[in-house]
Assembly symmetry: C2
Homo-oligomer: 224 residues x 2
Amino acid sequence: MDQKKPGGRTLAGDAYEAIRQSIRTGAVKPGDRLRFTDLQALCGMSVTPVREALARLTAEGFTVLDDHRGYSVAVLSLEELRNITAARQLCEGEALRLSVTKGDGDWEAGLIAAHHLMARIPQARDDIPSAMREDWEARHATFHAALIAACGSPILLEICEKLFSRADRYRRMSVSLSGGTRDVTGEHRRLMELALARDAEEAAAALREHYGRTAAALEGFLKA
Amino acid sequence: MDQKKPGGRTLAGDAYEAIRQSIRTGAVKPGDRLRFTDLQALCGMSVTPVREALARLTAEGFTVLDDHRGYSVAVLSLEELRNITAARQLCEGEALRLSVTKGDGDWEAGLIAAHHLMARIPQARDDIPSAMREDWEARHATFHAALIAACGSPILLEICEKLFSRADRYRRMSVSLSGGTRDVTGEHRRLMELALARDAEEAAAALREHYGRTAAALEGFLKA
DNA sequence: GAGTCAATGATTTTCGAAAATCCATGTGAT
DNA sequence: ATCACATGGATTTTCGAAAATCATTGACTC
């Protein structure tokens, strides 16, 4: 899914990152049209790389294409959140079960390291407590990837990764809403402990519940 | 996943279909480089739509991109086959369970219709018995889509659809190898009957076995 | 002979403008 | 007033060539 280095070896890769970031941070909102003129100005390049970036983003579900009518930011909905959550519970649950069963010492080390890095910094920003820290979000993604890293199926990992990033925008909303009413740190630690204890079934169950909570926190808000 | 009509409203869409077909039929083989010069000649258009087509194909796993070194056809391997099979058993199995549970009368009708259309024509070609008929393959895909159509989750459907088309090249190999040693028609009928009988668990199990057989038929060949 | 480095050729990647398409507005007829 | 149809502007889509990059070859040193 990611053949481009973060450094950005091609302009198309840079455009991908720039537009992705604009969607992440909310600079462009769900449903907004993405005009090539604007994006070219934003990214400082011609239309070709922008077009390729949008093709990738569309494949991952962040944008949608209407032939001859252009691209726009994919909308958020309660129904999609439920779908994504169910799919993640199914796929990541199974991936975690496999990973816990098959994981070796390197996997354990990577998991512990990832958890340590994530637990070391706060989740919310100092200046805007309702906003998620960018670096925490990155380490959070790394932690969840480390959990299932040893599942042995690149394709399952790819599916999980896509679902994870697709849930990203919902996760941000969740943090800005349920301010502290939830012990996310504790849930993460418990996940790690169950995984290291090689309790595959319990770990998978805990992961499913973990995602269920995030979805539940948004149910009321998205209904309105 | 498919925002383009088969008719082809944009050249990029036409290029996508043309290259996809070349990969399907084996006109270009796994590992082959896909030079823009050649593809432009094949599709009869400029580089821009070809590039967009390759971006889509890469997102679906048919081609791979090496920065500044171009695109090439994704290789086939026993390991990938196993991964795809496992992922399909997980995702499509669950989708079928949901679909059988939730499906209404329209779903039943669609399933029966799809099965009838598929059963009406032979699987192999008259001239080249080892090759799969294009129209059968299309109806086969429609049948499997009809099975899970009522699962209620567009995202799960999208995942299944991608996995199905990603298994396409392996399926073709399977037909050219195991000539008639397998009652594929019977397996499909049984799947339909279990689904219509609302036996969700048995139907899901039959589907998993159905995919397992296809994979098993190729195990020996791909090992060599 | 092995290894480094520059030059060449092939190929990808990007550009800026032209062509095609869509959307909205306005005109005229029923 | 309503509808059909043409016109203009905005936007996407495509083109063909220029720029950037990579792989290969050959000369040159150690």
